[in-house]
Amino acid sequence: MMGTWFDEEPPLTTAARQVGQLILAGFERKRVLLLVATLYAVAIACGLLRIKYSYAPEYVLRVVEADRDPTGVPRPRPQMADYVRQAVFTSEPLLDVIGRHGLYPSLARSNPRAALESFREDIDIEVRQNYFLEERPIGAAPRSALLFVSYHNTDSDVAVSVTRELGGLVVKHELSTRQKEATRAADLAKSRTDEARQALTLRRSAVASMQADLDRGNAAGPDRRMAFIGLLGSVPALELEQDQRERREASLALGAALERRGVGTVFEVVSDAVLPADEGAKSARSLAAGMAFVCGLPLLFVAVGAFAPKKAPT
């Protein structure tokens, strides 16, 4: 009965025996083994010293919209992370941060654009519990979202200060933008209300003037009377329009005032980019290095044993 090639393969015990022979052969070359092990330990130590730990403190903001009619305040951005990344962290403020904190010094001198790109790559923005993705019905509770901003740096102090500045930049930019939007909308609503008031005043004066004419002349024609009726009929529509515009103006003015005072959409600082103590990280790194040395040592024995010169047959 013919077996398959699998049956002809040596068993695992053979492989284990072979590894054992290689290790024993490696032990026989003690000097070489000592040299190789020393080199390996030095390489691990160098790596441990050279590879720096990256700190990424988190600046957490809770964004809560105003508890009022959502039609009187600027719209929140549903895709907040993308908005912050693209519209808040623009070139100018980020270059300013790079310059003040001396980030990427060589790259910033040679190619500021590349430094800016590196800076952006080191910034993480994340949004959790983002209820702004859903439309808020009238009368519903205010929506909120958690915005996480973090910056990676090997220096913990720099990481914390830059992260805090980035978080502050988000708050400042948003408050400013929303205030401008609200003020602009309120100003426009005011001008439109003035237009409506003016139109109503003109119409009322026309009505009064025509009424006086009709009162003076006893024999006014039917056309004139009909025109007077038409004028009278148009007044309620203008009053209604003025009323609507006044309501809109009042709503927007209140929204603008809230935004000016900073109590419209609120940005609460939940976490001010606090870093935990570094002791644990250092011991973890030392443990990892020790494990790497212990696990790599048998492989060194095998390698040294494999390249041992062939012994003469006895």
Binding site: P10, T71, N111, I229, L252
Partner: protein
């Protein structure tokens, strides 16, 4: 020939020795490898000389929808539709053709193949992305940093400007249409009001139906109650609110009724109408107050309506009083009789002196004159009510239509003026920058890529030559086809035998 079976340890050694021997054999073809490397270097140099570096500039555009209005609730994502619109504007042939001419882009292509191909070439180098957050990035890759920045900035200006123009034109078109529609609705409303006014002139009792808050027939019934009651003997026998210190004769009443009946009728009707309007406004206010708070806009509007109705009733009351006084004055020597009942907000329709006089005589049906209508059999009440309802409905519909048109016109005018308003706003938040390095891969990267590729090809070529080389260099080369009898060691430098 004795075949020896190798144990696993020796087999590993054998494999290592075989690999080492193959490497040695391949290294004997080092000239081939060097040749390949030199060739690769030459190709790399030629590529670097012929390759023209490109530079990329980018700008970011923000789409702001402004403050939300009531109409925006439930509206689909506007930023998504804006993305398609902006992309269409950006990629339109007319605008790109203008840009190619302005910056003299792809001159050779335009000269040889025409402006259409130049525009297509420009399209290939434009990148439009919507990374989210209502932002859009626009990038252009050009042959120089200055060109890249200038073209990117220009493209952004074109997109923003044309989008603004497009929205404004659309708003103006809508506004123009609504202006035309408004004129048409005004004409319709005027016609409806004319028909209604004609009907009211022919049938003044229906004028009591002016308020939209109560049923006209009910008001008319309540107002008609007064003159009809005046006509009855019972009402005449029990005057409620009129104090007459002197006796009124039938002659006086007839004289008064002939001279002042028209003014008195108008005053009474107007007063009744004002009272009915006030009652309806109050009922409306009570209804709304039961459902909303005082601060609710509808409640505030209802309060204003009550105040207006109150003021109107007060003015009408004053006017009616003056009419009554003038009627007494016109009646001759009769002194003006004081009205016992103040024409307050809650009082009933107060009867005028002529009513009382007529009632005292019991000879004239004053109400028929007050109504101003001849109750002929041909004047069917049902037909009149039907006609009245039809006319009022037409007027109401025409007015509602006009209100809607005016509201839409208001919004359209706001949209047409969106640059300073709360409408959509597209702004450049990150302007185009001057690129300082060429688009990757740079020269160093190109050289590294060519070096790696050449080295790989060189190693493969040397290995291939080593594989194909059938010369005998060592013991194992012979052992594969013949047994080795004697092995003579190679003489090393300095060895003495």
């Amino acid at each position: 020939v004795i075949e020896r079976s190798l144990d696993p340890f020796d087999e590993t050694r054998e494999q290592l020795s075989s690999a080492t021997a193959f490497v040695r054999r391949a290294m004997r073809s080092w000239r081939t490898a060097v040749g390949v490397l030199v060739f690769g270097g030459a190709v790399c140099a030629a590529f670097l000389v012929m390759r023209r570096p490109t530079f990329r500039s980018e700008t970011v555009i923000l789409y702001s929808a402004g403050v939300r209005s009531d109409d925006d609730i439930g509206r689909p994502d506007m930023a998504r539709s804006a993305m398609f619109r902006l992309k269409e504007i950006l990629m339109s042939r007319a605008s790109l053709d203008a840009v190619t001419k302005q910056f003299d882009l792809y001159r050779e292509v335009r000269r040889t193949r025409g402006p259409v191909d130049a525009v297509e070439e420009l399209k290939k180098n434009i990148e439009f992305r919507a990374p989210g957050g209502d932002t859009f990035s626009l990038a252009f890759t050009g042959s120089s940093p200055q060109e890249a920045r200038a073209v990117t900035a220009r493209l952004a200006e074109v997109v923003i400007g044309q989008d603004s123009d497009l929205r404004r034109k659309q708003a103006i078109m809508v506004s123009d249409f609504l202006e035309t529609e408004k004129r048409a609705t005004e004409d319709t409303l005027r016609e409806a009001e004319t028909a209604l006014a004609s009907f009211m002139a022919a049938h003044p009792r229906f004028a009591l139906d002016a308020t939209p808050l109560a049923t006209g027939a009910a008001i008319r019934a309540s107002v008609d109650e007064s003159p009809l009651r005046l006509a009855s003997p019972l009402a005449a026998a029990q005057p409620r609110s009129f104090v007459a210190p002197r006796r009124v004769t039938a002659a006086d009443a007839e004289r008064v009724s002939n001279t002042t009946s028209v003014d008195a009728r108008d005053a009474t009707l107007e007063e009744a109408r004002a009272k009915a309007a006030l009652a309806a406004a109050r009922a409306n206010l009570v209804d709304l107050a039961a459902r909303f708070t005082v601060a609710h806009p509808d409640v505030r509007a209802a309060q204003a309506e009550v105040e207006r109705a109150t003021a109107r009733l007060a003015s009408v009351t004053v006017a009616a009083t003056s009419v009554e006084r003038s009627s007494w004055n016109a009646g001759g020597n009769l002194p003006p009789a004081p009205l016992a009942t103040a024409r307050g907000l809650s009082g009933v329709v107060t009867r005028s002196p002529q009513h009382a006089a007529a009632a005292a005589t019991g000879t004239a049906d004053v109400s028929t004159h007050l109504a101003g209508e001849s109750r002929t059999p041909n004047n069917d009440v049902v037909a009149l009510e039907t006609e009245w309802v039809k006319l009022t409905r037409e007027t109401t519909e025409a007015r509602q239509h006009q209100d809607q048109v005016e509201a839409a016109l208001f919004k359209a005018k706001g949209a047409a003026d969106s640059e300073k308003g709360d409408g959509v706003e597209v702004t450049m938040i990150d302007p185009a920058f001057l690129p300082q390095t060429a688009v990757p891969p740079g020269r160093a990267m190109v050289v590294a890529l060519f070096a790696a590729g050449s080295l790989l090809v060189a190693v493969l070529a040397a290995a291939l030559r080593g594989l194909l080389n059938d010369r005998v260099y060592a013991e194992r080369d012979v052992g594969s086809f013949a047994p080795v009898l004697v092995l003579v060691p190679r003489r090393t430098h300095g060895a003495r035998y």
